[in-house]
């Protein structure tokens, strides 16, 4: 799950770099740096939460936590 998130964010980053290439600007690469750092922050928090979930349910299944519904 966290890997997929990483992939999605990086895809967007790649699109930025490509677009920057098209206009021959550095802006695209700057945005990519932003994306990288933010993705790192998100994943850090995400890992912490997943760890706690694992402790509680002994599972890494994404649907293990689905008590809130309706």
């Amino acid at each position: 799950m966290l890997m997929s998130l990483e992939v999605m964010l990086n895809a967007a980053g790649l699109a930025f770099v490509a677009a920057g290439g098209r206009w021959a600007q550095a802006d695209g690469q700057v945005m990519f740096l932003f994306v990288l750092s933010v993705a790192a922050a998100e994943v850090a928090v995400g890992l912490a939460l997943v760890l706690r979930l694992y402790k509680r349910t002994l599972s890494l299944d994404a649907d293990a936590a689905s008590r809130l519904r309706g």
Partner: protein
Amino acid sequence: MNAEALRALLPLLVLAATPLAVMMGIAVRRHHGTAMALSALGQAAALAATWSGPETASGAGGALLIADAFSHYYWSLLLAASLAVTLLGYGFWRTSEERAEEFYLLVPVATLGSAVLVASTHLATLFLGLEILSVSLFGLVAYERGRAASLEAGLKYLVLSSAASAFLLFGMALVYAETGALEFRHIASAAGRPILLIAGAALMVAGLGFKLSLVPFHLWTPDVYQGAPAPASAFIATVSKGGVLGLLVRFFAQGGAGDLPGALALVSVIALASMWVGNLLALLQSNLKRLLAYSSIAHLGYMLVALVVGGPAGAEAATFYLTAYVATIVAAFAVVTLLSTAPREAEWVEDYRGLFWRRPPVGAALSAALLSLAGIPLTAGFLGKLLVIAAGVSALLWTLVLSVAVTSTIGLYYYLRVIVAIYSPASADEAPRLAAAPLAAAALAAAVAAIVWLGIYPAAVLDAIREASASLARLSS
């Protein structure tokens, strides 16, 4: 950067310094009250700076940020809301085993993100503001480590929010690829309306729509509202949504999205769907926090109607509606907080049965909030709806206006259901004695006063909003 620009951005600087101060405070001495006081003081100082600061139309933040009347208005609104949430937090955590100091760290950080968001004029600041807000929200939502529901809500919010951010980013990348510009006004002036630009704008709306919990990106809302601690839910509903809405208003006015026919059609469809689905979902809900979540979907739908109208009138209606909504939601969650203790929240409608007879002021306050949500005259919510409907009528958006009217009637049903519960005779057995929470009570009193004040004497606030909307138009022209 001269002194004047510095003063214009002072609220943001103060707000950014606040978490540092709180962190230092915690490092020196871990104490609940101290952390709260530091955080609240910092936010109050930022609020004061907003009021006293000069208004510079340009230049203060370079290409990235702007401190105009619009930003100032939203900053004060967001800061007032976050201050209220901080006070609520103190009431909420007072009985908890949990270490709550970091809560007061995360609130100003998230508010900072939101404040950056409404002032941003550049896609980079938009993204950064949004992520500062989101990442701190993950922490806020999952703050109650001891409760499975809180953890689950945090995880869900994290995964979905990151996915939405990815969509938003991709949309931004498409827009950039097409226009070669990241600044709003350059995007707006880009020639042509090619496919990539429209698709990019649509993806951006989707990403932002997630934060505003608009249909069809709303699925996370009830779970997160229910799972998160009550003050955190209040924060999502007010500061987070307020920031994103402010950004959308600015983006539509200055980023040229308002001129894209496809984007307007998309927003209209989303608004329609949100009104209907939100109100229908809330209809038989027996959990007050979920009910407020569903109703927030509907209310954001109403605000989008104003966005579709566009122009100063639309911006004005959306902003006033948001102001009214923020005051109302703070009041509602303040009541939830007042009746909750950290491990056991008063979230079921059943918990409110006979509330008026047990605690008359609290019951009356919750009724006032619900009446305002339902849009009964003499409350803030009524005037908000009136402005939205008037704006819609003037723009001849009959489908949307009719939907607002019809779905508001549906909404009346579930708000009144809760009010009936509040006034029905109390069950004799349960009357839990709760520790007093004077600060949360003060926040509640202020919010109720704001509801009534906006409902009877809106002129002062409307003037400020009018000025803010005008500043928006000035720059885009």
